[in-house]
Symmetry: C2
Subunit: 425 residues, 2 copies
């Protein structure tokens, strides 16, 4: 690893000369300090220093995007210049460690006064680093094998209401969607192991339903049981899920952290469904925090198998362009095909977004979750599931939804109810 470098791409905004600001950033995150101290030799800097590898000027803003930046040099018209900067770090500085990678590429630098904007856009890691990480255990292929769905998205839903259901009530809700023909069902991120619904009881009740359905139909539905907790709690709950015949565990990534996920992955025998709640705090301002392409890398290499990316025309604030970039990042190999993870589309989804989603990705290697788009279908949940399958058939065959709807009743009803095509739920 000794000569290898990892590269991080940033969007920056600064009132200082761009190259000077970029150098400050590289200095802060490697062998830099703002005073002369003994021991900081040229040799050490050559071996351990970060380097600005590339800098592309972008637009200029009249006002700083974020407060707290140092006042620009005396000027009647201060300008806040934006640039795309690539900084490389010696891989040796970090070692084979995702938690320490984050401290290096996304540590103190967000607070530097040289910047009125700083966002980590992307990471490029040497194969030796990537291969030292666990990565997804199941990924896209492993998940498809469990549910036996090969040539279309895995279609799923979320147990609702999101809090308050007892294990028996949860199982009843799952029974309904399983009967409707879904491939996948998950807990909400707001329920993990509360006193009114312990994981052990909930997963037993739900898996009874799932296994009965499998015995009748041959189809194994995947149930992502939310086991978020401390690491030892997650490992106990993982085992409870496995003992009950469960086939997936879910965690809130931003709660368990990179280290928490690494240790769950180390012991896990089941796919890990990674929910990104809290992501907005890290991403919503365009000149602060992270693009998902960079952020998801930490958790993906730590072992997530499925990663939430929101959906086209979602009910949240994220743009479609951002959703598509995120999903493409999940599907792109880092070191090899096996480290690809399954993007999870959700929020306001019905068949209406299938054509654009397929067009954006060129493949159906994703989870497509719908709540109201399935349970709210006028002819019931089975028609809800059917209309989404029909929508994806049409999208993958290049047939306009309205045309396909002429011969597919559930899709026709859905377009009348949720539509027009091109809208969100």
């Amino acid at each position: 690893m000794s000569d290898e470098r990892l590269r991080a791409t940033y969007l920056i905004e600064t009132a200082r000369p761009l190259r000077e600001a970029a150098s400050a950033m590289a200095g802060e995150q490697s062998s830099g300090t703002f005073v002369d101290v003994p021991g900081e030799t040229g040799e050490l800097e050559a071996r351990h220093g970060a380097r600005v590898e590339d800098l592309v000027e972008l637009d200029v803003a009249d006002e700083p995007s974020l407060p707290g930046a140092a006042e620009p040099e005396r000027s009647a018209n201060p300008e806040y210049r934006r640039a795309r900067v690539v900084v490389s770090f010696p891989a040796e500085n970090v070692g084979a460690s995702l938690p320490n990678l984050r401290a290096t590429v996304a540590g103190n630098l967000f607070e530097l006064r040289q910047f009125s904007g700083l966002r980590l856009l992307d990471l490029e890691l040497p194969d030796s680093f990537t291969r030292s990480c666990p990565g997804p255990q199941f990924g896209i292929e492993g998940t498809r094998e469990i549910v036996g769905v090969e040539d279309r998205p895995i279609i799923g839903t979320i147990v609702k209401p999101n809090v308050g259901l007892t294990p028996a009530e949860t199982a009843d809700t799952v029974a309904e969607v399983v009967d409707a023909g879904l491939d996948f069902v998950k807990d909400d991120e707001l329920i993990a192991d509360p006193p009114y619904s312990p994981v052990e009881e909930r997963v037993e009740a739900v898996m009874d339903v799932v296994r009965d359905h499998e015995a009748e139909t041959g189809q194994e539905v995947m149930y992502a049981c939310n086991i978020t907790g401390s690491v030892h709690e997650m490992l106990e709950r993982h085992d409870a899920v496995k003992d009950a015949g469960g086939n997936c565990v879910m965690v809130s990534m931003n709660s368990v952290g990179i280290s928490g996920l690494l240790d769950l992955r180390r012991e896990a025998d089941l796919p890990i469904h990674a929910h990104r709640n809290g992501w907005g705090a890290l991403s919503r301002h365009p000149l602060l925090g992270f693009d998902y392409a960079a952020y998801h890398t930490f958790f993906r290499l730590a072992g997530a198998d499925h990663m939430h990316v929101n959906g086209i025309r979602n009910k949240f604030c994220e743009s479609d362009a951002s959703v598509v970039r995120s999903a493409r990042a999940c599907q792109a190999p880092i070191a090899d095909e096996d480290d690809r993870v399954m993007p999870v589309f959700s929020s306001g989804q019905w068949a209406g977004q299938a054509p654009e989603t397929y067009e954006a990705l060129g493949n159906p290697d994703l989870m497509y979750l719908a709540g109201g788009g399935i349970l709210g279908h006028p002819d019931g949940p089975a028609a809800g599931v059917a209309h989404i399958k029909q929508g994806w058939e049409a999208a993958m065959r290049g047939i306009p939804l309205e045309e396909y709807a002429e011969t597919h009743e559930e899709l026709r009803t859905a377009i009348e109810y949720y539509g027009p095509v091109g809208s969100g739920r």
Copy 2:
């Protein structure tokens, strides 16, 4: 716990009617969903629903602070109203779980289109919840006992250069500052267990120095060894630190996550020094993310003993007011005195900020870290340490620094070199 509620205070900005927007927030994070689904009964909502408890209107902005908010109702002059909102959640929804507390109070809501700004300011937790959390094992008193410093701040520094030193070189650097009379020395957040400086070798080399110094002088210096990694790595490293006679471990909170810290705390016999690198991404925009008062609660209750808060007139972008609020939050009890943690002041510190720091807190229960303020002192590191002790003596006795400097040479030299008083390094 069944009737208890936890309360979260937010700063919001919205173009929608304030009460409507606040209700949407409460709905999203409890039993709310945007479609009517079976099972969502009045009874469930009464038991599990979040409630808006208080709403205080603040100022009005002409433009949205964050992009992605839903367009306001047709209006020639849309207004973005700001408010401070308190939302309460049934404690039963969460259970005794810090990771799931985060998913509830700081989950999807940052992405809601109803808001052009949303920041979590503070948390108020029932004692039953707080007492179910491990909390700090050493805190302020336990840390003071180890270093034997009672009536002034614990004065420390950071090993520099921050990357690239071998274990032997690190020990040499530590020897210098230990000889200078420091109480505390820590690794940089950029070095944990890289190939050129494995924790085991580094801590052995450093603790030899520390224990020799103790044998000579009777004073035990605390060395915070950065063990950031996966949980099993951190536990192995913690044991290596302990076996080498070490007395503190350090972690990057945002890398290890709440769950990672909980499991380290569960097995740890040493104080945990929590570094907040990456905090800027979560906090720098004033209408997004977290105030430290809320954020630090998760990691403090998970088991951190010392928590970084930046410093007065720091070299980063944070305001002094924010630094003071953060430090006060660390020092304020949550359920009781034992859960207080030691705020760690650093960045650009010398004696010059001691008076304001003491005035803001009214006590010296803190760590005061200086790099250039100690190592850069014209008369060497021992004079650097002495001048900071003198500055704090003056501050605690209410004597102006300039006056105290008349009879204290190291302080006098420092004021000439770093000053004037009222400036930062």
